[in-house]
């Protein structure tokens, strides 16, 4: 491949930005900012997809870039912001670990992720295969965000960030999944968010709060 390394370097720096954003989300306590970070992550994903599409000439990547833009940059953040306003949840302060502790765990997670990605990078033939480690790291960091948060809304943002990581992984390793699968996944994510919206209102109607502490009574029978 006669590479124009500049474009690839650009993609790699975008990947680094993704990782940085994952850390920012891990530390962020304001739910509104969390959603904004998620939207930014979506935008970077979209930019990276566009660059790759232009670089490789794979037409379906243009389509998935548009899909990312519509769903992850515009629609989902808008839905989440609306939910935050209507449900009045702005802060998620009590986490299981304090910020610096979470960050330390996050660092270890990144090291682990690069180790995990080694055999995959070795197999992939794409020009962006070095970014696979970052994708795995984004997935695991999102997972960590979900584990350490108490509020339902932050868990959902973590879930969506995990989806971003998965998507980026698929893109950097194979230039994207087949279109039909990508469409299906996008549809599922959209429906999941709609279901979730309904669900949040039900929780709130019942408990007057979106704190998951209320949802911890169904333990093993005592």
């Amino acid at each position: 491949m006669a590479a124009t390394p500049f474009v690839l370097q650009l993609v790699n720096s975008l990947a680094a930005l993704l990782l940085l954003l994952s850390f920012a989300m891990l530390a962020q306590r304001r739910v509104v900012t969390l959603v904004n970070l998620l939207a930014l992550q979506g935008a970077i994903l979209c930019a990276a997809t566009l660059l790759l599409a232009w670089r490789t000439g794979e037409h379906h990547l243009y389509l998935s870039a548009v899909l990312t833009l519509a769903l992850k940059v515009i629609l989902l953040p808008w839905l989440l912001h609306r939910l935050i306003r209507r449900l009045d949840v702005y802060w998620d302060t009590d986490t299981l670990l304090n910020t610096s502790g979470t960050m330390m765990v996050g660092l270890l997670v990144v090291v682990f992720a690069f180790g995990l990605a080694q055999p995959i990078s070795a197999l992939a033939s794409t020009a962006t295969r070095s970014a696979i480690g970052i994708a795995v790291a984004v997935i695991l960091l999102a997972f960590l965000t979900m584990i350490t948060r108490r509020k339902a809304m932050s868990q959902v943002v973590g879930f969506l960030s995990m989806e971003n990581g998965l998507f980026f992984g698929a893109m950097s390793a194979t230039y994207g999944m087949p279109m039909i699968v990508e469409l299906g996944v996008a549809l599922d994510v959209l429906v999941a968010m709609l279901v979730l919206g309904v669900f949040f209102f039900q929780i709130r109607e019942q408990f007057d709060s979106l704190d998951l502490e209320h949802l911890e009574t169904l333990k093993e029978e005592t």
Binding site: H60, L116, P119, I120, L123, A124, S125, I139, F143, M146, A152, Q155, F159, M162, E163, L166, G169, A170, A173, T174, Y175, M177, P178, M179, I180, V181, G184, V185, L187, D188, V191, A192, V195, L196, V198, F199, Q202, I203, E205, Q206, F207, L212, H214, L215, E216, T217, L218, E220, E221
Partner: protein, 485 residues
Amino acid sequence: MEFVFLLGTPLLGAIMLAGFGARRWAPEANAGFSLATFAAAVALAVRVIAAGNLTVAHEQFFIDPFNVFLVALTAFVGLTTALFSRPYMRIEMDHGRISEGRLRLYHSMYQLFIATMLIALTTNNLGLLWVAMEAATLSTVLLVTLYRTPASLEAGWKYFILCGVGIAQALFGTILLYIAAEKVLGAEGVSALLWTHLNAVKGQLEPRVLSLAFAFLLVGYGTKVGLAPLHNWLPDAHAEGPTPISAVLSGLLLNVAIYAVVRCKVLIEGSLHSPLPSQMLMGFGLLSVTLAAFLLWRQRDIKRLFAYSSIEHMGIIAFAFGMGGAVANFAALLHMTVHSLTKSAIFFTVGHAAQKSGTQIMDRIRGLMTVSPTIGWGLMIGSLAILGMPPFGVFASEFLILTTAMREQPWAAPILLLALGVAFAAIFGRVQSMVFGETTAKRLPHSPALLPVFVHLAIVLLLGLFIPPYLAGWYRAAAQLIGGG
């Protein structure tokens, strides 16, 4: 043609019932759509048995003996559950537990749930399989929370988030599989996720990436199967939703999830030439059986009791598929069938028993036999069947699995036997005190539909005594296909 009907009927039903699901005739319409789906499934099964494998829509869907048998089973239990839900949901309406809007949601989502399971079973595309599995979760989340009680909301949230995270792992596994497949099948991207194509080249796929992929796929779909320690959502979701949903979740969705695991295992084992996937399946299976058997003792809610019993049986099935080989696969398929039939029959009787007693707490359910002999006997016989008493079908499949285990994995047989014994004591004692004794139950406004219970139990009994030759041939063909061992 049959295939279009098979998927089209429940989808059409979902749309129609979204509009008219609260009318007086809606429960009948729900049953009618299920009946049409079942008819299409039977026609499809007959055709596949006569003419062999079938691919539809540019190979995006394919039917072989393994999945057509599950399609028929799914459509059948879908039909009987729809029949059962007719009086059940009317009684719930009379008790004021659900409104008209929620009844509409219930009927529409019921059909959609059946449709997503049928898509998951018949698709050839591993990506679509993932999409359909996730859609099956989404269509049932709002059903688990149908009563809007705090406990049901908690159950729904757990179900949503745990299965969501689990299934995200499975998506990563699918991506890894795609990466490996693309190397071999070329980057045109269309065929690299088709199971039939992958199966043809499975020997050439890169083993290291595939073992990683299997770990993710097993954890991901294993969450949906309810394998320990990923089972946390299952008892809650089963206990808090309406009983017809417990019956289909337990009887059908778990089967579909284990089907996904087995499909992936076939591919990955063919590439690895090592027993790693089998060992992982056996390990998860044994852990689930033992953990569930002991947790059975701590249950007070009748639906949670039988939910844990489902985890136990899924563990047995996973263990049997893990052992592999013709006999164990045959037994696992038989066990999937009889568990699905028996467990849904039990949930039918449990649902009415709980309605009659006004509670799901076992200590407060007493003397079902005196107030309604059919429910009492149904629960008693169903429990005996699920506990593996001869002459029921569960005995036959468990016997096959145990004897194979003694031969192939002698270390595991005592663990299995112990767990089965513990489970027997736990369930039998509880059921006995609920069925006999002084009664607390009252009469119900609509007479319960108990025909499905006895039809299911009769089939299970029949399968225990004698497996019809064509059915045995069918199982054998499917077991062959799964291979392994």
